[in-house]
């Protein structure tokens, strides 16, 4: 099954800049692992996996901008599953995020 990570809704923020991905495509994340750091106008948002998953496609690379609620990456349960056409119909990955 596929999942997507989207930009979490952070108060007062319109869009973020992707600061750093903590794993390349194919990386297996466990629950609690730091997946990506996002930069808002005044803080760093750490997005952590809330469930295990494999990073399959990065939709917004480090340095790119993305609006609140829009997708950043696709993940799946297994390495082998064929990628879907796009992120639209994909369920959200359980995530935890922390604003520093």
């Amino acid at each position: 099954m596929f999942y997507k990570i989207s930009v979490p809704a952070v108060a007062d923020v319109e869009e973020i800049r992707v600061l750093e991905w903590h794993g390349d495509v194919g990386h297996h994340f466990n629950s609690g692992d730091l997946v990506v750091e996002l930069e808002t106008h005044k803080a760093i948002v750490e997005v952590r996996a809330g469930q295990p998953g494999v990073l399959r496609r990065i939709l917004s690379a480090a340095g790119n901008w993305q609006q609140i609620g829009l997708p950043l990456a696709l993940l799946s349960d297994d390495d082998g599953d064929a990628l879907p056409d796009g992120p639209d119909a994909v369920t959200d990955l359980a995530v935890e995020f922390e604003i520093n």
């Binding site: 007062d12 923020v13 319109e14 869009e15 800049r17 808002t40 106008h41 005044k42 901008w65």
Partner: protein
């Protein structure tokens, strides 16, 4: 440098545009320094001075106590002694404490000394309402427009913040640089190559044919939203982002009003003796009578209560109603109490 490279841009946060302008000017001129509350290791209240303390150290990025009168006074004095200080006053409301050194000394120094001394100081401050109540929300830039010797700039975009702050740091007299709390979440394209935005030049932010809105700072975004609403009703609005309030770019303003034939002024501050009054008077001097109206805050303090704050401030709907009333006074809906001149 090729033409393409010259116009290449990068998208950065509003705060980063400010930091970049200050960093470049500090690198270019060792007499530029920053002073203010939390400007040092903390990087500024909006992180708009991020990285400067690390690069330039405590002697050139100086944390100050909560003492605005002293900060502006030291800034004006240091400027008279040959430095180019940027004094950061976090809330524009508290610039009031620095008015004596800024207005009685800084703005008059060149005149009073027959040109022997100047005060090239920039007072950077943040105006506007964002839930912080009566004494942390005000837009008092209109008060400063009437001071001879003082320049006032108020950008609405990251690019203009960058270019105007660089220009301000090169001026030979005091400049008040006004930004806005609600502009800090914004990002925008800024030229990769160093560039200044000249003080005294307005920008036509949107072209239109039926009416001109003059505005500045965050209200430029409100005006743009109103123009989008009005476009769906078949009304074409031109928006002049003033960018500099003193001196006003009357050529650009009057040129626009001459084309459109009607003028609405929009500001977040009070309309009585506001920016709009001056714009309308100057346009009248140039063009004679033109249908015109003002939109600004209600004549009330800005509450920290969100409902009351929203009630006090102009928004796109109010601007759109005021425009329609101005263009079509016969069939107009009742004037909104906020539109103008009701006092």
């Amino acid at each position: 440098m090729s033409g393409k490279a010259q116009f290449a841009t990068e998208k950065i946060f509003f705060r980063e545009a400010i930091a970049r302008a200050v960093r470049e000017e500090m690198r270019d001129n060792p007499r530029v320094f920053v002073m203010g509350q939390d400007v040092g290791a903390f990087g500024g209240s909006y992180r708009e001075f991020d990285g400067l303390f690390g690069e330039f150290g405590a002697a050139r990025v100086r944390d100050m106590p909560v003492a605005e009168a002293a900060m502006v006074g030291i800034g004006v004095g240091a400027a008279a002694a040959g430095y180019r200080p940027l004094v950061s006053i976090t809330y524009m409301d508290f610039m009031m404490l620095g008015f004596d050194p800024l207005i009685n000394y800084g703005a008059k120094l060149r005149y009073k000394t027959g040109g022997q001394l100047t005060a090239p100081v920039v007072v950077k401050t943040t105006a506007g309402a964002k839930g912080q109540g009566v004494a942390h929300s005000q837009c008092i830039e209109a008060w400063l427009m009437s001071v001879p010797g003082l320049k006032v700039v108020a950008p609405s975009t990251a690019a203009d913040a960058y270019g105007l702050l660089k220009a301000a740091l090169r001026e030979d007299g005091p400049v008040v640089f006004v930004d806005h709390k609600r502009l800090f979440p914004v990002a925008g394209e800024v030229p990769l190559a160093q560039a200044i935005v000249p003080i005294g030049k307005a920008n036509i932010a949107r072209s239109g044919t039926d009416l001109t809105i003059t505005t500045h700072s965050f209200m430029t975004r409100v005006a743009m939203d109103a123009a989008t609403l009005l476009q769906s009703k078949g009304i074409s609005v031109e928006i002049v982002d003033l960018r500099t309030l003193a001196p006003l770019d009357i050529d650009t303003i009057a040129g626009s009003v001459k084309r459109t034939g009607a003028l609405l002024t929009l500001e977040e501050g009070q309309v009585t003796c506001g920016v709009g009054v001056e714009v309308i008077a100057r346009v009248h001097e140039r063009l004679g009578p033109v249908p015109s109206a003002r939109v600004g805050a209600l004549p009330a303090p800005v509450s920290s209560n969100r409902v009351l704050e929203l009630a006090c401030l102009p928004d796109a709907t109010r601007v759109a109603i005021a425009v329609r009333n101005l263009l079509n006074p016969v069939t107009a809906s009742p004037r909104p109490v906020v539109s103008s001149g009701e006092r």
